[in-house]
Every structure is written in structure tokens, then in C-alpha cells.
Symmetry: C2
Subunit: 417 residues, 2 copies
């Protein structure tokens, strides 16, 4: 109960700042971003000291090397965070834009205006860079933000948020526009998920366990991000070298991220020609292959199980399946995919059209690596995450995903007859 | 467990039809709507007979006269449902529209295309007209629909859905595109709220109790609709007759709906002039007034309690409060309002601007009755409900609210460097 009260108090404080933030001019918000960036650099020493505490505790708790790496800050990484904030300055501010306005027969003029969501909650793991990134994106869009980072990064997050709040105070803006949940008990996260009174949206950023927990337990509206069981389908009509290049890039370029390929589908006729070439490429890159029985007859691969088709490895592992045609490929993807990013490699106009039309996913590619599903690669200039749900935002989310609309209606005394 | 399986099976069947519906041409969907309308009229007798069963059971269970009225079908009401379906034909089909397409420096062409949500669930009360209305809107937008109506309308809904499915069968479309949950136990509704595997969105249509239950228990993404504690603020600079007309219309025109006014705020200086006039108007219309202490000194009214400010009466009852200025009005509305529809009556440019900017609501009016918050009045030609949440859709929801987007990406072999 005490934790619920603590979290509610945080919600109340954040909510109070929302109307003030909603009214800020773009100029003021940009000044704030620059000041936040300057403070981060100026206070690097203190931030690094706090981070060393977290890293030492993490090591003594036996965190994996990968987790320690994500947790660790360096002067360069802090510089990178500051750079990220400065980049936001040049992006167009979506707030206030009237995206449509029309006049009704009765003379009412109705406009649709972009406004901030209000208070945005972010739940994430022990990655201090998310703290700064999320604060920058939410403030740029006139929102208050409640941050709930992984407990292993508590000291780092306290130092970072303290620094960002100095910038708010300098500009005489309410410091509670950026609030960190400093209680690390699981109940604090649960309370945040039920904070409908104060929280307009909750965005989990992290692994599939975290995301599932938030989706299942949250009564606050959630934007589900991230899980990507992505496929590349090499059609019988594909250009061989292009297919080889795309299938290699999609798996190997950065296997640990959500837009990396997890299953390769190959049309039966082209399989004997392309699979041995790809197997060689993958072997050199250290990729473990798990194949359907037919695949295993063509190349060296462990037999794939039913589970493999549904798995997001996030690793140098690839499931390979031979299919009869584009229809079987589409059926497989729509069955096992997570509606993230899917690709066909083909020279056939008809099959490209069919794939684009029938695949149910946030991003559907013809002849390009799924690795491009990314706010920066899409040209949004920023990314708060990649939505795999269909409501509100789908695919890479830029600044607009952190906004909503309101209808503004200008009348001259109209009443309903 | 058995009920959960039954509901899951319904979900599975609906989901199977989604890709087929997503591909239908506008022509085909319009043919379907017309055929559904024709069947409704042709089978009126059977529908009315089923409805009589529900009405008789409802009466013997002691349902209120208002509920019985909502439940009762007549030949005219069936004609009205059919007319509603035919109206949808003329509306533009949002599916397939590419709302933006751009070329990246690497040559990738990225487009944003409108696609159906997939499977839409509607939970509603004993109002058979919602069955037809919801089916029409979801099919027009290429979605499958799972309908869970109030148990008191079960026979009517069975007859209606059976009729609509004949139209699907006639056009050789999958009948499971429209499925009724025929189990009436509470567990059936609960199972639907957890059907994330098959359901893309759940829309509750009904009273605040139903909506709260769905928001609190659903893990499927929900679009919250309907609750409206709406205000009209009469500013000191208002034109008296306009203010009187708007305040009367907003309360009395149709008090039982969500966009009706529930609290009237009056600026202190104008109160002695306008409140007696309004009190007279309201008295003639049978409106019960509940006032703040100052109001009670000016006109005959019961003293309002704290609870009154937060209540959506949906009845001929009005809370009245005198405020110092537009700032106090805004603060009151943002505190007690449900972010639905709010109005200022004023001749002041500055105060109109301030009100539009600072009120956090789906629809903010200057000098017009809040009763206009409605998909038809806004010119959308249809309405699936009025969203009071900020994600996905806000305010009156037309066809577009039943769609999402997918990114379609045309490449020439691009890989990520």
C-alpha cells in the first residue's frame, strides 16, 4: 500500500506539469533540450561515478557481460546521449499542427489539432541511455514522463534524471516533468501499470518478458513494442545474388535486434542453388542453422523443431524452411510471425504485389533487408520504439506516436436541432 | 475452461476470415452491405418473432421500461438498420489508401498504407441495433467482427446475425466474418477480454459500468468510449442570448447521451443576469438544478455536493457553479471533466484561444453546443463510438478508427550497412 501511494504521488506530480508542458513553444522546448545536453556533458564526472556504483554492484551480483556492457557508461556514451538530445532540436515539432480543418453545412468549423498525450510512462531495463532518450522524446512532444528503469541502473538513473531536472529548473520549468520511480520493488512497476488516473500511456522498452508482463498486467493503455520473429522469403524467381546478400544482411548485420531475420523461407526450385551458397556465408559468420527435413538434406543443419518456427533467437541462429510457393510462405509467416518485418525477394511483379497485400505485419519489404525497420532509417529522425500492435501506432514510432489529437470547434452560436 | 475454449474457437474462426476480408474490393464490400440490408428487410418477420421472445422474457424479469424500449424491435426499426447499412455504401472505403510515400537516400520507397485491424470485438448491452451497426462498420473496413451483446437480447441477436450471415454466404464469403458469442455467462465476456491471440481490439459500447469492467479486465487493446461529464462555461463577455440558447440545448436536447452538458459554469459578473433566465428555461423543461452556494442565492436550486461536480447524470439534472474567471473554469473542467466535450461561450478572442489551448478534451467548442460531438455531425458519415482515450482515436470515431496502417517498402536489393 505504501508503494502504491508513493507511485500515485509521482503520478500526481507528473500530471500537474502536463498542462504547462503542453503549452510550451517549440523554441522553449528546444532550449531545454540543448540545456539538458550541456548539463549531461558538464556533469559527466558525477554521472560516471554513480554508474560505477551500479556496475560494481552488477558485477558482484553476477550480471552477464552483455548486461554489464549495456549498463556501463563512458564519457563517449554520455557524449552520445547529449548528441541525441541535440539531434531532436532540428526535428519538426508536431504539437499544435492542425492536420485538417473543414466547415460543416451549419457553419461549424472543425479542426483536428495535434496535442501531447499528457503523461507518458516508460518501463525499461538496466540501460541508462534509455533514460535520456525517452526524456528527450517525451519533452520534445510536450509530455511529462515517468521513468521506471531496471533496478541495476538505479544510481545511474538518479544521476541522469537529477542532471536533466537541473536544466528544467534553469528554465523555470517544473522539474517534475521528468520523474524517476526510485523504489525498485516489483510492486512499484505493478502500481505504475494501474495508474490510469495519471498516466496516459505506458511504453515498455526491453525484452519479451518485460513486454509480456506489461501487456498482461497493465490497465493503462500500452504500446507494445519490439518482439520480432522476422522472415525473409526467397522466391523461385529471385535474383540469386540479391537474395543471398539480403538474407545474409538480415541475419548477420546485427542479430540481437528485433528487425533481424529469424527464419529463412526458400522456394523449393531455387533451394538447391541458393542454400549451399548461403550455408557457406552463414558458416563463415558463425551462424547455427536449423532446418526442415528437406533443408537438412541439402545443407548441414540441425533438424528444426516446431518451436524453432516460433522463436525470436536474437542470436546467430537461423531456422530454414523450404516451401512450395509464395502462398505457403505467406501462410507460414502469418502463422508464426510476430507482425514486425517481413521480406520477399523476387523478380515477379505479381508475387511482390501478393506478398505486400497478404502479409499482416508492420513493415512488408520487397527486395530489401528487414534491418531497415527503424525510425531513423525510415526518415523520422527519432524513434521511441517499434510498435508491433495495431492500435495508435504501428512500426517505427517517431515523435508523432507520442501525440494525440483534439478537435477544436469554432461556432457562432450553433445548437443541435 | 469449457467457456474459454468456446470463445477461443470463435476467435480462431473469426481470425481465419480476416485475410479474406482484408483483400475484398470496395465493390464487393458494398454489395455485401446491400445484400445484408435486403435480407434484414426480407426476414423481418423472423427477426421480430425472436425479438418478441426477448422482450417477453425481459418483461417477466422486470427490466425497466427504458431497457425494454431499447430492446424492442419494430418493422420501422429494422428498416432503420437496413438504411444504416445502405448509407455505409456511399462512404469512401479507407482500406488501401496510401497516406504517404517517400523515397529514402538509399533508394528505398516507403509508403504508409491503410489496412484493416483484423478482428474487432464489440461488447455491448441489450441493444439489437448495435449488432447490425457494428457488423456493417467493421465489414465496410474489411474487418471480421465478434459480437458479444447483452444476454437479454440473445434471441434477437441470433436472428440478426443469422440473417447477416446469409448475405455473406450468398456472396461466397466466409460466414464467420460475423460471429455472435452465444454463451451468456459472465465468463464468456471475460474470456473475450483475454483473447489477445485472435482479437486485435475490443470496443465496449454501453454504460459506464460496462466500459469500466472492460478497461479493467481486458488484456486485449481497448478503445474506451463514451463517458461524458461535459461542461459549458459562460464567460463574463458572452453574448447573453447565445449563451442561453447553447446552455439550454446542451442540457435539454437529449439529456441521456454522452455529449450532453452535466455542469454549467458561469462567470460571477454575468451570473445575476443570465442565471435567472436560464433557471426559468430549465424549469419549464423540468430540469432539476443543483448549485454551488452562490448559485443557490441567485436561483432556486438544491445545494450541490462535491459528488455532483463529478457526476454524469444522463438525465434532466444540472450542476451549476459560479466561477471567478476563465482560469477557474478551465481548472474545474480539467479536474472534474472526463475529457469528452467542453464549451466556452464568449465574445473574447483571447479567452476563446485560451480555452481551446488549455482544455484537455476530445472536443473543445467555442460558441456551440457540445451536442455536436458525433460522427455524423462531424461529417464522418458513420460512427462506431466516441473515444475518450487518447491512444489510436479520440472523439467521434468514423471508419478510419477501425483501420491501422502497414508500411510497404519497395527495394532494389538494399542492405543495411
Amino acid at each position: 500500500m505504501e508503494i502504491a501511494e508513493y507511485v500515485a504521488e509521482i503520478g500526481r506530480r507528473a500530471k500537474q506539469t502536463a498542462p504547462i508542458l503542453a503549452r510550451l513553444s517549440s523554441t522553449c522546448k528546444n532550449q531545454l533540450l540543448i540545456k539538458m545536453a550541456d548539463y549531461l556533458v558538464a556533469e559527466s564526472e558525477a554521472i560516471l561515478a554513480a554508474n560505477r556504483q551500479d556496475v560494481e554492484q552488477g558485477k558482484s551480483k553476477g550480471l552477464s557481460a552483455a548486461l554489464i556492457d549495456r549498463l556501463t557508461l563512458t564519457p563517449q556514451r554520455i557524449q552520445g546521449m547529449a548528441e541525441g538530445l541535440r539531434t531532436l532540436v532540428s526535428l519538426e515539432d508536431p504539437i499544435g499542427k492542425v492536420t485538417g480543418m473543414w466547415k460543416r453545412p451549419n457553419g461549424l468549423e472543425i479542426g483536428q489539432q495535434r496535442v501531447p498525450l499528457g503523461v507518458v510512462g516508460i518501463i525499461y531495463e538496466a540501460r541508462p541511455n534509455v533514460t535520456v532518450d525517452a526524456a528527450g522524446l517525451t519533452l520534445k512532444t510536450g509530455n511529462a514522463v515517468i521513468l521506471k528503469g531496471g533496478s541495476e541502473a538505479l544510481h545511474s538513473n538518479q544521476a541522469l534524471v537529477g542532471t536533466l531536472r537541473k536544466a528544467l529548473a534553469d528554465l523555470e520549468l517544473p522539474e517534475d516533468a521528468v520523474i524517476l520511480v526510485e523504489r525498485t520493488e516489483r510492486e512499484a512497476a505493478t502500481a505504475l501499470m494501474k495508474l490510469n488516473q495519471y498516466l496516459d500511456v505506458l511504453i515498455p522498452r526491453g525484452g519479451s518478458g518485460l513486454i509480456r508482463a506489461v501487456v498482461e498486467n497493465s490497465t493503462v493503455p500500452v504500446i507494445e513494442t519490439g518482439v520480432g520473429n522476422c522472415h525473409t522469403y526467397i522466391d523461385g524467381d529471385a535474383e540469386l545474388e540479391m537474395a543471398r546478400r539480403i538474407a545474409f544482411n538480415a541475419k548477420v548485420h546485427r542479430p540481437g535486434v528485433c528487425n533481424a531475420m529469424e527464419t529463412l523461407l526458400v522456394q523449393r526450385d531455387i533451394a538447391p542453388r541458393i542454400l549451399p551458397l548461403l550455408a557457406e556465408d552463414y558458416q563463415k559468420a558463425g551462424v547455427e542453422l536449423r532446418g526442415c527435413p528437406e533443408t537438412c538434406r541439402l545443407i548441414a543443419a540441425r533438424p528444426a523443431t516446431e518451436e524453432d518456427w516460433a522463436t525470436e533467437y536474437l542470436d546467430l541462429i537461423l531456422a530454414v524452411k523450404i516451401v512450395a510457393d509464395v502462398h505457403e510462405a505467406i501462410a507460414h509467416i502469418n502463422r508464426y510471425g510476430t507482425r514486425h518485418s517481413e521480406c520477399i525477394v523476387t523478380t515477379s511483379y505479381a508475387k511482390a504485389r501478393l506478398f505486400l497485400a497478404e502479409i499482416d505485419a508492420a513493415a512488408v519489404y520487397v527486395n530489401a533487408s528487414t534491418r531497415f525497420t527503424d525510425g531513423f532509417e525510415f526518415g523520422f529522425g527519432a524513434e521511441i520504439g517499434i510498435s508491433t500492435q495495431k492500435l495508435h501506432a504501428r512500426g517505427p514510432m517517431g515523435l508523432e506516436a507520442l501525440t494525440t489529437i483534439k478537435y477544436i470547434i469554432y461556432g457562432d452560436g450553433q445548437i443541435r436541432k
